[in-house]
């Protein structure tokens, strides 16, 4: 029997059918998950850099009392854009991007289920982000904070266009996120390699599955909330206007019904990355696979029960608060289970101290502290003190930087060899890790104390008499170290992509199928689709002997009779192969659709409604063409 990865001696129709057309046309019509996910990754890190620059400017301002480095308006714009960028344009897309790149590989398939939607998602993500950032060109930068509370953001108190940039740009990015979530959920349920039971799929798939479902329920309310606010601003409705029977608290309910799951939507892919890396570097199977999977689902469900815990100081009756406080207090249990499972796994094996593992350990140290302060702020009376103070600022940076940035850095060190085919420099990586870890803690730990000393968040300056200068100055110096560490990682990535040591298919002794493909993987990922019978396919079952009806469809996948892109669709629970589906190879419609919608957006923004209508009609026509265009797949 020939190995699954060997190419045929004759003409390679598989490679030809997955090849991208050369040139600019090929670039704009490309649909393959790895190409688009790489764009997502690069874009997310560009936005991370922008958000980072904003934070450095703010830290410089806060490093001394009564600083005049930034004025009030600029500071308010910066923290609004920093929060918006990090939450909407970095943290959520970066998790999806890693999932889009690696889950098809880990699940043993060749692409995402809706390749045109993948490309469309990236286009509107970029265009939405550019739209939001174009506010700098017009001097109308959003300044209402990343949760944009009404009535401050309503037509009366924010008459300029700044909030419109925010609402419309963010809505675009949300649509991209929802599109990505739909892709990933269908991928995980229907595209797993034959034989990979749902109880055998990598834990990252569980995390992304729950994340995707959470996105599907949590993001639409924010889209609705944003549209209602935009209607208030543009055509004079009264949803959030107390003078005409509206209610500003409605915004808070809708926003936090999104906003609290959002935290877990950001966090869960990070936990999945950790669950992927820990066994490889502990050189041990994960302990408590089922417990981790179940607790991931539990986190997803519980995260919808706690939105009011951002509203403890709004005057909601104490009984209601107690209910939400209980829900908030239960969320730590599934997290504690996962952390214990990782520690147990590390203990059980023989840990290898490499950079991905360093970031995982850094993550656990930071994230547990963020969890402790999380339990504190879930306590209603303590929250009345901590809410909207620097204590909360410190808390959520521990949770978010700990919960997603450290796992993402671990993922970069873990998976860059797969993406580029070359190893990162381990020594440089170690120095960068320590700078990042120390810099992070020096930046954010002191802010807990500043908060308890009574400093509210979102103040552009403070008097010397407040006594906040010491901790704030320490934080600013910590940021210098943190930035240095991150820049060093950037340098490492850029340098190694060209000069790094060759990685080979499996430099770490990996557990999952991504390490079975070559580095970098070919567009079709796997020549023959591996058939799976265990949770650790690379540790247990190589070579993947065909178990299902081997003759016809594996041959067809290995060497298609016509130049079409085919993947195998399998059943939801047991991954029994059901049919071969043909995927589109290239398409202009995603780009055209995204541009049409952007035209509609700009028309709405500048109140030129004929332009907006043109965009909408163009989008509708494109949509029809998109649906129609299915014969065109060969």
């Amino acid at each position: 029997m020939t190995a699954l990865q060997d190419p045929p001696a004759t003409e390679d129709r598989l490679a030809a059918s997955w090849a991208t057309q050369p040139g600019a046309a090929g670039w704009f019509t490309a649909l393959n998950h790895k190409q688009v996910a790489q764009r997502f990754l690069v874009t997310a890190f560009v936005f991370f850099g922008l958000g980072g620059i904003q934070s450095v400017l703010m830290r410089w301002q806060l490093g001394s009392a009564e600083s005049t480095f930034l004025d009030a308006q600029t500071y308010n714009e910066l923290f609004t854009m920093h929060g918006t960028t990090m939450m909407f344009l970095f943290a959520v897309p970066v998790g999806e991007a890693f999932a889009m790149y690696f889950l098809p590989l880990m699940l043993g398939t060749r692409d995402l289920p809706f390749p045109r939607l993948t490309a469309f998602g990236w286009y509107i993500y970029v265009l939405g982000g550019v739209f939001l950032y174009s506010s700098f060109l017009f001097g109308q930068v959003p300044d209402g904070g990343w949760f944009a509370y009404t009535p401050l953001t309503g037509p009366e108190y924010s008459p300029s266009s700044s909030i419109d940039f925010w609402l419309l740009g963010v809505t675009f990015v949300e649509i991209a996120t929802i599109a990505g979530a739909i892709e990933l959920v269908v991928l995980i349920l229907r595209y797993r390699a034959p034989g990979m039971k749902i109880s055998q799929m990598p834990l990252l798939a569980w995390n992304v599955l729950v994340t995707g479902i959470a996105v599907i329920f949590a993001f639409p309310p924010l889209v609705v909330a944003s549209v209602l606010l935009e209607l208030d601003r543009k055509i004079g409705t009264h949803f959030y206007d107390p003078a005409a029977g509206g209610e500003s608290l409605l915004w808070q309910h809708l926003f936090w019904f999104f906003g609290h799951p959002e935290v877990y939507i950001i966090l869960l892919p990070g936990l999945g990355i950790v669950s992927t890396i820990v066994p490889v570097f502990a050189r041990s199977r994960i302990v408590g696979y089922s417990l981790i999977a179940v607790s991931t689902v539990a986190i997803g469900i519980l995260s919808f029960g706690v939105w009011v815990h951002h509203m403890f100081t709004t005057g909601i009756p104490q009984l209601g608060l107690a209910f939400f406080s209980v829900a908030s207090l239960f969320i730590p249990i599934p997290s504690a289970i996962q952390i214990s499972a990782w520690i147990a796994t590390i203990w059980q094996g023989r840990a290898v101290w490499k950079t991905p593992m360093m970031y995982v350990v850094g993550f656990i140290v930071i994230f547990v502290l963020g969890g402790v302060t999380g339990v504190m702020v879930a306590s209603v009376p303590f929250d009345t003190q901590a809410h909207d103070s620097y204590f909360v600022v410190a808390h959520f940076h521990y949770v978010l930087i700990g919960g997603i940035l450290f796992p993402v850095l671990a993922a970069i060190h873990f998976w860059m060899p797969k993406i580029s085919g070359r190893m990162l420099d381990e020594r440089l990586g170690t120095i960068a890790f320590w700078l990042t870890f120390i810099g992070f803690n020096v930046t954010f730990f002191p802010l807990h104390i500043t908060g308890l000393q009574g400093m509210p968040r979102r103040v552009y300056t403070y008097a010397e008499s407040t006594g906040w200068e010491l901790t704030q100055a320490i934080a600013t110096w910590g940021t210098v170290v943190l930035t240095l560490g991150l820049l060093m990682t950037l340098g490492n990535v850029v340098h190694s992509a060209r000069y790094g040591e060759r990685a080979g298919a499996d430099p770490w002794g990996g557990e999952t199928l991504d390490w079975y493909a070559t580095s970098p993987p070919p567009a079709y990922n796997f020549r023959g689709i591996p058939e799976i019978a265990s949770r650790s396919p690379l540790w247990d079952t190589r070579p993947f002997r065909p178990r299902y009806d081997p003759a016809t469809w594996q041959d067809e996948l290995r060497e298609p009779r016509a130049p079409v892109r085919q993947v195998v669709l399998t059943s939801v629970l047991d991954a029994v192969p059901e049919e071969l589906v043909t995927l589109p190879q290239k398409s202009w419609w995603p780009l055209v659709m995204a541009v049409a919608l952007t035209v509609a957006l700009i028309g709405t923004m500048i109140d030129v409604y004929p332009l907006a209508l043109t965009g909408v009609l163009a989008a509708v026509v494109t949509g029809v063409a998109w649906i129609w265009d299915r014969q065109d797949q060969r």
Binding site: E66, D71, A72, N76, D143, G144, G145, P151, L152, Y157, P242, R283, S284, R285, V287, G288, L291, T313, T314, G315, Q318, A322, S325, V326, L329, P332, I333, S340, I343, A344, I346, Q348, R350, A351, W353, V361, V368, L369, V372, T373, V375, S379, V380, P381, F382, T384, Q385, H387, D388, L452, Q453, G454, M455, R457, R458, Y462, A463, S465, T466, G467
Partner: protein, 318 residues
């Protein structure tokens, strides 16, 4: 040229952990409890992690270890299931205690949030003032709070937790201050460009001092004590100050600007930003946007004599 403003008027904000009232004291106790308990749990987790990293299995394991599963059961389930209800129960007790409505004898004060200042009313005494809340030491106080524009939040860290001020709602914050002193009050909910400069002074004083203060505010405005001040009153009206600022018996004002009837009794101007001195007042009148960009007060171009007269008048408003 006005003197350089000296932004040192407001007192330092106290610490959450250095309480001066029963509400904050209870919360401080809860805070310490959670900090110590949480800190220990964090430390133990880190110790376990380090031990796990140093532990060397004899060979790469093929099957999972029973001890490893027991660890998850204890550290992942049993410990949180025991600890969290304790934290929750303690929180509930403190929560019920600190949110209890003030007893009937409590002093009621109405606070209205504005971008970016605080309107303060004593309904029983019929007094209106701004940016300074006086309370008697040891007596429960009910703050009935609402907002005239956007959402604000009132916070005096060593006294009590914060509570939001909403347009169209009244939220009630019950508190009590047990130590005489001046405390910094802050706006904790982002409310626009000068959110950082929306502060007030909470003055806790003995009962007789408080009564005297209230009585002084109850009286009408002081009559100008000199010809200069008399002229200043005319400047006040002629320059249009009275269109926004109310001075009892002098001008109607509007509801978006602070009442100045007893301006001179206050320690600060511009919502806790500047000490209430002649120089600061002059600087504020001439160039409020330069000092605090985005406030509603327009600049004025009063010339020397008019300005001196106006300052003399305002400084006499006791």
């Amino acid at each position: 040229m006005p003197a350089e403003p000296a932004p040192v008027a407001a007192p330092a904000p106290g610490s959450v952990l250095d309480p001066v009232g029963p509400e904050a004291a209870q919360i401080a106790g809860l805070t310490w409890f959670m900090v110590v308990l949480g800190g220990l749990l964090w430390l133990a987790t880190v110790v376990f992690l380090v031990l796990a990293l140093r532990h060397r299995a004899r060979r790469e394991p093929r099957a999972n270890d029973g001890g490893a599963k027991a660890f998850i059961a204890v550290w992942g389930v049993v410990v949180p299931v025991v600890v969290l209800p304790i934290v929750f129960g303690y929180s509930l007790l403190v929560g019920v205690d600190t949110s209890r409505p003030a007893p009937s004898g409590a002093l009621t004060i109405e606070v209205v949030g504005h971008q970016f200042w605080w309107e303060v009313r004593y309904p029983e005494a019929g007094v209106v003032t701004a940016n300074e809340v006086h309370v008697p030491v040891g007596r429960p106080v009910r703050l009935e709070m609402t907002s005239a524009d956007v959402i604000h939040s009132l916070w005096v860290p060593p006294v009590a937790g914060k509570l939001d001020l909403f347009p169209g709602h009244t939220n009630v914050l019950s508190l009590q201050v047990d130590e005489a002193g001046r405390y910094l009050g802050e706006c904790a909910e982002f409310c626009g460009i000068q959110h950082a400069r929306m502060q007030f002074v909470l003055v806790a004083q003995e009962e007789d001092e408080f009564t005297e203060h209230l009585r002084a505010l109850q009286a009408g405005p002081a009559e100008p004590g000199s010809d200069l001040a008399e002229a200043g009153r005319e400047v006040f009206l002629a320059a249009g100050c009275g269109q926004c600022h109310r001075i009892e018996d002098v001008s109607e004002g509007a509801d978006f600007a602070p009442d100045l009837t007893h301006l001179a009794t206050r320690d600060t101007i511009a919502a806790g930003m500047l000490e209430n001195t002649r120089g600061n007042l002059a600087g504020w009148i001439l160039d409020p946007q330069g000092l605090k960009s985005g406030v509603r007060m327009p600049p004025s171009n009063l010339e020397g004599e008019d300005l001196q007269a106006l300052l003399a008048y305002l400084e006499g408003l006791r």
